[in-house]
Subunit: 418 residues, 2 copies
Amino acid sequence: MRKNAFYAQSGGVTSVINATAAALILESKKHKSKIKKVYAGKNGILGALKEELIDTSKESFSAINSLKSRPGGIFGSCRFKLKSFEENKKEYLRLVEVFKAHDIGYFFYNGGNDSADTAFKVSQISKKLGYPINCIAIPKTVDNDLAVTDSCPGFGSAAKYIATSVFEASLDVASMSETSTKVFILEVMGRHAGWMAASSALARSKKNNAPHIILFPEISFNQTNFLKKVKEVVKNKGYCVIVASEGVKNSKGKFLSESNTRDAFGHSQLGGVAPYLAGLVSQKLNLKNHWAVSDYLQRSARHISSTTDLNHAEAVGIHAVKYAINGMNSVMPVIVRNKNKKYSWKIEPAQLSKIANVEKKLPYSFISKNGFDVTSSAIKYLKPLIQGEAFPKFKNGIPYTQKLKLVEVKKKLPTWKG
Amino acid sequence: MRKNAFYAQSGGVTSVINATAAALILESKKHKSKIKKVYAGKNGILGALKEELIDTSKESFSAINSLKSRPGGIFGSCRFKLKSFEENKKEYLRLVEVFKAHDIGYFFYNGGNDSADTAFKVSQISKKLGYPINCIAIPKTVDNDLAVTDSCPGFGSAAKYIATSVFEASLDVASMSETSTKVFILEVMGRHAGWMAASSALARSKKNNAPHIILFPEISFNQTNFLKKVKEVVKNKGYCVIVASEGVKNSKGKFLSESNTRDAFGHSQLGGVAPYLAGLVSQKLNLKNHWAVSDYLQRSARHISSTTDLNHAEAVGIHAVKYAINGMNSVMPVIVRNKNKKYSWKIEPAQLSKIANVEKKLPYSFISKNGFDVTSSAIKYLKPLIQGEAFPKFKNGIPYTQKLKLVEVKKKLPTWKG
């Protein structure tokens, strides 16, 4: 059975998701007896629904290969969750219609836990509608919150960005602290899980170095303890570096970023955790401070991606193809850490039913007793993921990217009305 | 005349200020007939006043050389401006006392325009108090706002960080824009001058690429025009990337960052320009947006420093020594751009009187007519400054820094009471 493949990117993108795409497309070319062409969905699953399919066979090897150093999602991503088969049968019928029209027998969906859910639902088309498909979800998320897999492609690079940035900014604050800035706050991503915040601990080349306080979404914020700790650190060290997860909540379970600021019109404003904490430090402790919010910078920083992460990203792309052509359905290639002392890993298939919609939070064994730091187990887990510098090529002082043609396949069906 | 030298870092630090320090210390070793030892002031000029002098001769060559890839200010910086001789004679008398006690005949002060002022005042000690000193200010500032010099060491690297970050984040936003984020705002430093904001234009590998809107402190903010432009860009491109200088002001000359947010207690909060603009975009245009504030990250990002900038930083350190041992006083080694088509440069001495306290803003010829972009003259000026990648060594996934001894010279004088 020779079929075309559909590949799409979904949810928040990462600095290495295109490396997965490149590896998948190049691996597919090695299996011409099974896979004809790889069609990439424009903007995720929407590309399938709208019949907007990019023909990757029109691209040169060099163009596809260059994706390994291009951040963002080259084919466009989406935040769009398929309803259940019962709730919106129309969408599934449309997918089958598009798959049939373009002879698609392989479905690859590259995303997080919402996307694993979409892939899981699509995988059931075989059963529900009798359409044969090999459906593979491929892991990707800077949040590192997917179940089963040891880590998620995208996370290691974001972690390396955070560790490096905290390391560098801490040297800056240290030099300014005598007469100026005493407190520096960096807000990192992680709405529900503190993996990214935890990775800032890798900035330490020595125990007790910065960061001095890490705030996790898993630990509810206690203002008194926080301020006491800041005061203490500034007294002992001369300055204090804080890394706060965007998802830090107060004891009532409300995001700190929503609990405080009002704009000129009196509207509540999603002000960010960093400016909130900075306000507290100013008002309650009268300490000069600076704050930064890295937002998209941390997840798109391909210039500081980790080689380990990049290798993971490519490997899951390659294995997705292998699983699909071997007839697997409803699985995800996950990263398995070998039990040796030295970090090594392999890829294995895992059932999507165990991954879809499950959120893996930072285990409590990774958080220190006072709630402001990580444990040595966390460091042991995190450290291998940021190893190696996969610097991209630069041209004219900025990272170099090659232009792709992104030719769309001719439509065969009526327009999708949604 | 063989004398010791005093070197100190002042004002906001940069990712390459330690490269200047390293070059200066290593160059000094080549002139042993003139310079005995280099004493570094702990926390800038305060180190001289407090007699806290770090003996750099105790460090190995390798330790000093490693400073070339260490961000922040290794000896500590300060925000401290000497009063005039007439206002606070005591401070000048103390400096002379410390210089005499430690046989200091060369004074090197590495900073911005405030620091040039301090150096200028110290240079007059010879005249006013009859103490012979060769006083050299050395340029450093990410703000790029020093007069006379073509550019300021530290700026090129910050500019490269900004251009790279905007390039990367724009690819991220582009992939998300169909179903999610339409507007991304990055706030960069620059309280009074728009050099850093302008450098974001280097993110474009093609005209009309992101960033689509740049806001400068030199141009007063017009809300109506801004929102109109955002709407137009989103309509045409599908998304809009905005880079805003922290110093953007409204038509009344008030910082936008101060004009809007109130915390829970009703206090006005320095909320940052980015969240302010994000609030506007949400409320007035109802467009989903993300924002980032790079703050200290941009000026300490040694991992993405420009080779050109690093070369400048070293060259001004070397020339400072040459000028001092040739008997010059009250000058600064400045970068002069040669008038060839291909970028090249040299170092020349300039009078401190022309530099102290002068602020070089972005020339109007560098700002586009609509006030939202730079001109081709700006690009021509900026581009050479971000060329080359001076990646540091990494260890354990983060930049490697070597430990210095930082041994203080034994005090000979009574404690300074200020």
